[in-house]
Amino acid sequence: MKHFKHIAAVILFLCIFLSPSCSKENEGDKIIKFWAMGTEAEYVAKLVPEFEKQNPGIKIKVQQIPWTAAQEKLITAFASDNTPDACQLGNTWVPQFAYLNGIVSLDKFISSSPIIKKENYFNGIWDTNVIDSLVYGIPWYVDTRILFYRSDIFKRAGYDNPPKTWAELYDLSKKIKSLFQNKDKYAIYLPTNEWAPFVIFGLQAGANILKDNSSRGNFSSEEFKTAFEFLIRFHKEKLAPLGISQVTNVYQAFADEYFSMYISGPWNINEFKKWMINDLADKWKTSPLPSKGNNYPGVSLAGGASLVIFKNSKHKNETWKFIEYLSKSSTQIKFFNLVNNLPAVKEAWGDSSISKDVYMKAFYQQFENVAATPKIPEWEQIAFSKIQQYAELAARGVISSDEALKNLDKDVDIILEKRRWLIGKEK
């Protein structure tokens, strides 16, 4: 009896293991492996059947990989020659894979494509995919950071409109803080485990984040220092909460008036809609970011995901067809309605499902003024480990802003040592 159980288990295992995973495949079909992340993967699968109908002989296999482990997984796949044909890449990752020589330049496909043209996209977004004047990715969906705010609290503080300049932002924050005599309420949420606001305000102040062909840190520059000190002041003057653990649920805190402003991206919209209900439903709004001077809106970051083709793909032409399909205005609208990812193709924004959404207007305005972060493979490390580390140290007053930025430059120069060596070698 025991033996029988074991044998049965083995047979069952073999059946599961050896059975063809997709029974619909025909002999000679070209199979495109497409990796997508998180919810995108679930929903892009719904767009696949129509493509397969239009293109008999091509089958798309979507594989879902979790966002949190995406980069590790992709690089591991690259290291072991197991990359898919195409993939969704966060557009700050495009440089990494271009330098790795893992993805191909798409210029020759674009030049003959009836669907994908540079002018269909937001300039700043398109630019994130260009490395050494070659295009490596096609924007799939876009995101950027804008201001989410509580219009009711703004009104109580005497502001009918969102702040348009840094000075207004600061003044408004002061007023909100004094509005709540209770110490435990804040004007703006600027968690130091988010590097983005520091870089955004730096760019707004006109800073070059890196110098010498992106081979040295430039954080001690006058421009970046101005921005850095401006943001640290919010922490020092208790206009922003210090710890990140106090806010386990950003949305609830926003509903509780714990803070009235938050610089963040479109991924929050659905959650805010879920939490800001009943009489709070019309009390939150979005606006583009303020600017340092009078050139409103101030610049924000060009984010989102791009579609790339891997070098090892055996079906590059067919993969390109799939990318073209995903980039059609009609597919982009469908995708927006499925997951609420903002379409990369400008034409899609004209569709009523997007244009009538009150929260979207600010995004469209902001996308006209977005910029890319430095396009080097080390950028992620600089942003996530170093900028955050020193922002936190300065915000908590452990070291002065001057010291923080000087050390930041020193650390960044160490990270970029290899890059300087490579540049020197090329010369």
């Binding site: 980069q71 590790e72 690089i75 290291a79 710890g243 990140i244 653990s245 386990t248 490390q381």
Partner: protein, 301 residues
């Protein structure tokens, strides 16, 4: 004549032994020794993301990864955090396990199986789930921890957000999560102590404390050595708790060596540097184990 036959037999049997050992040994060789040697070699290079794309960019850097490491404040911070964790949590967790084991081994306790199972439960529960619950427990506004403290009028503590308290918070959770495992080993050790020793001590009129001091502790010594070495090695490899609870923050006060190694290696792909961290950690654990053996030996003499 007889001698040669015996020799023949013994060579025959030893080669048979090697054949039987071969699968296990070759697996260990392929999956353990080769990676360790490769990592050791890599720790003398600057293998990074550029090298992954183009192998010709790898440079032999000698000991410079190690020198860089000793110059890296974050490494020292991580080292300090790890030692802090090991030195406090190790003894505390062993003491808690031993106490729990003694209680469960006592004749007075009923429903032993239920207690044993429930104390062991945290060990087998997924850490991610545990960490989420503990994050709620530690929540500065709504957490039960601060509620309990408020009952004895202690002002609320931002457990995971305060650089001073984040590590103790993680320590407490780790002790709770892990003591059940050592407890089971201690129970096994206690059950191996012959009952007649206690009976003899009873007849001689030894107090409970003296029985514990002169019978239980000495008889448990081998178990204690085993437990403390395993615990020390395990705690030096602290990773998942801070990785999930605090991501090393606030102010890197909960960043552990292994987490730093993981970040450098798999997040930023500085494989050379990461491998150097791994070998420094190996060296520390190696020395720590030697010291414990030494202490144990001097105890016995």
């Amino acid at each position: 004549m007889i001698k040669s036959a015996k020799n023949k037999f013994s060579t025959y049997s030893s080669s048979a032994a090697y054949i039987f050992l071969a699968p296990a040994l070759s697996a260990i060789f392929v999956f353990f020794f080769i990676p360790v040697i490769a990592a050791f070699i890599i720790s003398f290079t600057d293998f990074d993301i550029y090298a992954l794309g183009d192998f010709s960019t790898v440079r032999w850097v000698g000991f410079s990864n190690y020198f860089k490491l000793f110059d890296d404040p974050l490494f020292w911070q991580a080292l300090q955090n790890t030692f802090y964790f090991v030195i406090v949590t190790g003894p505390v967790s062993i003491a808690v396990s031993l106490t729990a084991a003694l209680l469960l081994n006592s004749k007075l306790v009923k429903f032993k199986a239920i207690f044993r199972a429930s104390y062991f439960m945290p060990v087998v529960t997924t850490l991610v789930a545990v960490a989420i619950v503990w994050r709620f427990i530690y929540h500065p506004k709504f957490g039960i921890m601060n509620y309990l403290l408020s009952l004895i009028s202690i002002s609320p503590i931002d457990w995971l957000g305060d650089p001073l308290w984040a590590m103790p918070a993680i320590m407490l959770m780790s002790v709770w999560k892990n003591f059940g495992y050592n407890m089971i080993i201690f129970i096994a050790g206690l059950q191996n102590i012959p009952e007649d020793l206690y009976e003899a001590a009873d007849i001689e009129g030894a107090s409970a404390w003296n029985q514990f001091r002169f019978i239980t502790l000495p008889m448990l010594a081998p178990t204690t050595v085993f437990v403390s070495i395993i615990t020390m090695i395990g705690y030096f490899q602290l990773f998942a708790e801070p990785y999930i609870m605090t991501q090393g923050g606030p102010l890197n006060k909960t960043l552990s060596i292994v987490q730093y190694m993981y970040q450098e290696g798999f997040r930023w792909w500085n494989m050379g540097y990461s491998a150097a961290i791994a070998f420094v950690l190996f060296f520390i654990i190696f020395v720590g184990t030697l010291i414990q053996f030494k202490l144990q030996k001097s105890d016995n003499t």
